[in-house]
Symmetry: C2
Subunit: 148 residues, 2 copies
DNA sequence: CTAAACCCTAGACCATACTCTAGGGCAACT
DNA sequence: AGTTGCCCTAGAGTATGGTCTAGGGTTTAG
């Protein structure tokens, strides 16, 4: 049993366009064609495609994914290179995770202000400080003036 | 005291180009100009810029950041809208965090294989299965054949 | 045997987010 | 006054990752 591009699109959530685009980019050299020239995805192909999605979802660039797939096509001799590539990517993901966590906390801090009962007071204070700073530096006030 | 665009670039890690681009995109309506038409960043402006970076670093689109900044410029009356916008973004970040965590685990699983002493055996097994599947479906073998 | 629903390629087009160039003004030092 | 090093805008160009169209072949059910 093999799968058509449409079936694979449904299974993966990628569009047919994207699948063909990935093939054009050299990400799917492992997908064979049937006698009509149609792509025939095996379950093994789906497994590899899942790995590609995994890398894509963690923001690996297509050129790097292509490099990884190229290694896979070369067989076991490329295991050291695959390991190096994935380890570098792992580090990139960990760094990104840390950054996201930090930014998320900032956003939660902002949200706490906006959700608190003193939200208006706090926001007004910030605004007053910002406006005073503009005036102190001889700058125009870019904030919208309250129309009582 | 105010900061020039160059100083702000150094402080934030954004390029001067990017800062001007953000201004062009309506992300910096709060930055006033001095008598020569130069941007003059106050410390309050830096604070807001930091928030912009926070949103950008968590993949908020520029159009959405612009919306948020527009709310900020409107003063306290827009607090409910700011809250709604940030809460939606918070949910998006949480979803992304979960997805990254899941994909990271997949990658770590792969790495464990590549790092284990049986790496070559395991990879060869996978490859054999994939090739057998191609043959079973009358497809060409796209993998590189070992030259003994 | 034909219509509907697939499949294919090549290549144009689009969105997003920058990045850079050209042309010109301002500020400080020499 | 000239040179250096900033600043400005407008707009062109680039990189990335799709998305779609045109033109054409295949497969399947009626």
């Amino acid at each position: 049993m093999t799968y058509t591009i449409k079936e694979v699109a449904e299974k993966t959530g990628l569009s047919i366009y994207t699948l063909r685009f990935y093939d054009k980019q050299g990400l799917l050299p492992f997908v064979s064609r049937n006698s009509s020239g149609y792509r025939a995805f095996t379950t093994g192909d789906l497994q590899l495609l899942k790995t590609i999605c995994c890398l894509k979802n963690t923001d690996m660039k297509i050129s790097d994914i292509r490099q990884y797939i190229t290694y896979v096509m070369q067989g076991p001799s490329s295991i050291p290179e695959r390991r190096t590539l994935l380890q570098a990517h792992q580090q990139a993901i960990l760094a990104k995770q840390a950054a996201i966590e930090k930014n998320l906390q900032e956003i939660e801090f902002k949200l706490n202000i906006y959700t608190s009962p003193e939200a208006e007071t706090l926001v007004n204070q910030e605004l007053a400080v910002a406006q005073a700073e503009k005036i102190a530096n001889d700058l125009s006030n870019p904030f919208q003036v309250k129309n009582a």
